[in-house]
């Protein structure tokens, strides 16, 4: 285990991430509304040693009840529509919605129209837009830290 910790220590030294600025914190709840899983991979990467989202006080939390931000991926399928709205309804106010990736932004979506619900922008008030297919971890961190 100590070899792994030393390895991680070396990774951290080599990347030399700048220290965080400000003293804010943000709790993010992710909902996959029909993505291809690439956005999920990149969102997971932001919590890894190369990006360390937590140094900005940003945490990905387990429940919408703990969340400030609902981070949505995917074009919103008919089957995920109600679950998505339920997650939003469970959030305390003030709350924000972030659209992660081109599908959530309604760009270039490949799907059968009848399998999709309304675009995210029509379902929920989107405040933060993170374009990309998928957005890189840098772009996700930059958008959330802003």
């Amino acid at each position: 285990m100590f070899v792994l910790l030393r390895h991680l220590d070396r990774v951290r030294r080599e990347i030399a991430l700048p220290p965080r600025h400000g003293a804010n914190s943000l709790a993010v709840r992710h909902v996959d509304a029909g993505s291809c899983n690439a956005c999920e991979h990149e969102l997971t990467a932001t919590a890894g040693p190369h990006y360390d989202l937590q140094r900005f006080g940003i945490d990905i939390v387990a429940s919408p009840r703990h969340a400030d931000v609902l981070l949505v991926t995917g074009p919103v399928t008919t089957r995920m529509r109600d679950a998505l709205l339920a997650a939003y309804a469970a959030m305390p106010e003030p709350r924000r919605v972030a659209a992660l990736g081109d599908c959530a932004l309604g760009c270039g979506v490949l799907a059968l129209g009848s399998e999709l619900a309304e675009p995210l922008e029509e379902l929920l008030p989107v405040d933060v837009r993170i374009p990309g297919c998928p957005p890189t971890p840098e772009q996700i961190v930059a958008a959330l830290a802003e």
């Binding site: 285990m1 070899v3 792994l4 910790l5 390895h7 991680l8 990774v11 992710h30 909902v31 996959d32 509304a33 029909g34 993505s35 291809c36 899983n37 690439a38 956005c39 999920e40 991979h41 990149e42 969102l43 997971t44 990467a45 890894g48 040693p49 190369h50 990905i60 387990a62 429940s63 995917g74 074009p75 399928t77 089957r79 995920m80 679950a83 997650a87 490949l110 799907a111 059968l112 009848s114 399998e115 999709l116 297919c133 998928p134 890189t136």
Partner: protein, 502 residues
């Protein structure tokens, strides 16, 4: 003088047979008896009438047994081939095709609201059911699981996926084969290359295109790059499943390095857009290939070190043995593929049956010394396959990769004509339908793509990924385990939801 050797086959062969419904079950039984493995089934109305095709694999030969629906029904083969269960349920939901003998034919893709309409009822005093999802606690894809438990012991899991069903197969209908690539690729981010190569192979088989050796090497490199980052990701995920943060983070860091290499070599971290129909657009010059090999050597050294440490982390290892065990018999019955099947000691790896790719003839799938079929063995598979993948990449990148022009259909290659149901009165359009099937080993096992082209356009696209093949085995392997171990079992398979749901 050496005698002229017969030319090696340029691609997997497809043998098609049109079969009367009354003889369909016997024909499938014959396939199973001769040792062929069921590798997918799909309904299609591309030829004008609804029909059902069951695919069987033996080496590099795929056999497609096709039978027409009579009064909206075909005979079920689920009694012969347990692995066909999901395929039949899906065809019933999406095409309204009935399967005589499949009782009860529960919905799979459709989501009726009442539990009694889709899951097995819980009966008795002590058992109760736990519903989880579609939204889970972490950054996880959406899907619903219904656990039947007594205390903490799992009696049964009924996965209800398809929350992410986007109708990709039907959306692709009418596209030309080149445009259709996007639908196969975007079915899943983590299997984009495997899905694209399978799709390209299926279209090339249908069109009679022969692929340039340079494009074959490019595809093989891309497939192994995809396997590399996925396997590193899976080891990280299994560490997360037992709460071992140093392992989670160390392998996440290694995965990140693999993804940065992907971007450097192809311009995209997930290798999107790198596979083209007929040819290859990937260009890696000598200097870039050498840089990549240097990165891969470093990655190999650090991966070996981290893997060794994981083996010696006793608290991790003690959590893995005997959890989520799958017997070889169940793996065969349920149609498990890839590392999940090899962890049970089954020597199945489609890389040994891929003449259209550049794997060396000497390639042999790795098998764990103790194929226990549990979480420990599935983790072991990743550890065994990572060095093989790194070595393959090192040898493939020994020479630069040049773009290859789109393959031409070679003179003398017969246009694929499908056998007809002569006595069943199939409309004349059937004769114009050209079919192709390709099988590719993705990081999670064999992915199968079948296409039917009508007048040069996609009339049917079917993608049966390794995740789809493995889900029933995953659900079964969790039986008798503790409910809190399910996330670990799930991560040891690390199946995608996106390419199952499509």
């Amino acid at each position: 003088m050496s005698p002229a050797l017969p030319a090696a086959p340029a691609a997997q062969a497809l043998e098609e047979r049109a079969i009367r419904p009354s003889e369909f079950r016997a024909a499938c039984a014959e396939e199973v008896e001769r040792g062929a493995r069921f590798c997918g089934g799909y309904a299609s109305a591309a030829s004008g009438a609804l029909e059902w095709t069951a695919l069987f694999a033996a080496g590099a030969v795929t056999t497609a047994l096709r039978t027409p629906a009579v009064a909206g029904e075909v005979p079920s083969i689920v009694g012969l081939v347990g692995a066909a269960g999901w395929d039949e349920r899906e065809a019933h939901d999406l095409y309204g095709l009935g399967f005589a003998g499949h009782e009860p034919l529960r919905p799979l893709v459709e989501h009726p609201a009442a539990p009694a309409d889709w899951t097995v009822p819980v009966i008795g005093e002590d058992p109760y059911d736990v519903a989880v999802g579609p939204i889970h606690a972490g950054v996880i894809e959406s899907g619903h699981f219904r656990f039947h438990v007594v205390g903490e012991r799992i009696l049964l899991i009924d996965p209800r996926l398809f929350y992410k069903h986007r109708g990709l197969e039907r959306a692709a209908e009418g596209a030309d084969p080149g445009e259709g690539m996007a639908f196969a690729a975007r079915a899943c981010g983590a299997c984009a290359v495997a899905n694209s190569v399978a799709y390209a192979g299926a279209c090339e088989a249908a069109l009679g295109l022969v692929v340039d050796p340079e494009a074959r090497r490019a595809r093989t490199v891309l497939l192994e790059l995809e396997r590399l980052y996925n396997h590193l990701n899976d080891v990280s995920a299994i560490c997360a499943g037992v709460g071992f943060a140093p392992g989670t983070m160390a392998f996440a860091a290694l995965k990140e390095r693999a993804m940065r290499l992907n971007r450097e070599l192809t311009g995209h971290r997930f290798l999107f857009g790198t596979v083209t129909l007929g040819g290859s657009a990937v260009e890696i010059d000598g200097a870039a290939a050498e840089r990549a090999r240097a990165v891969l050597r470093d990655l190999a050294a650090d991966t070996a070190l981290a893997w060794r440490e994981l083996r010696f982390a006793a608290s991790v290892q003690a959590r893995l043995g005997g959890v989520g065990q799958l017997t070889p018999e169940d793996a065969i019955r349920l149609g498990a593929v890839g590392p999940a099947a090899r962890a049970c000691g089954l020597r199945v790896d489609t890389r040994t049956a891929s003449p259209a790719l550049a794997y060396p003839a000497s390639f042999e799938p790795a098998l764990p010394p103790e194929p226990t079929g549990d979480v420990a063995a599935r983790l072991e598979m990743r550890g065994l396959e990572l060095p093989v993948t790194l070595e393959l990449l090192d040898s493939f990148l020994g020479e630069p990769l040049s773009p290859a022009p789109a393959g031409k259909s070679v003179e003398g290659t017969p246009e694929r004509t499908s056998p007809q149901f002569v006595s069943e009165g199939v409309p004349a359009t059937g004769a114009r339908t050209r079919r192709g099937v390709a099988r590719v080993e993705s990081p999670r096992g064999e992915t199968v793509c079948a296409v039917e082209l009508l007048d040069g356009r996609l009339a049917r696209l079917h993608l049966r990924t390794a995740s789809y093949a493995n889900w029933p085995a995953l659900a079964h392997s969790a039986t008798d385990n503790l409910l809190p171990d399910f996330p670990l079992i799930n991560k040891s398979f690390e199946l995608c939801y996106a390419c199952v749901d499509r």
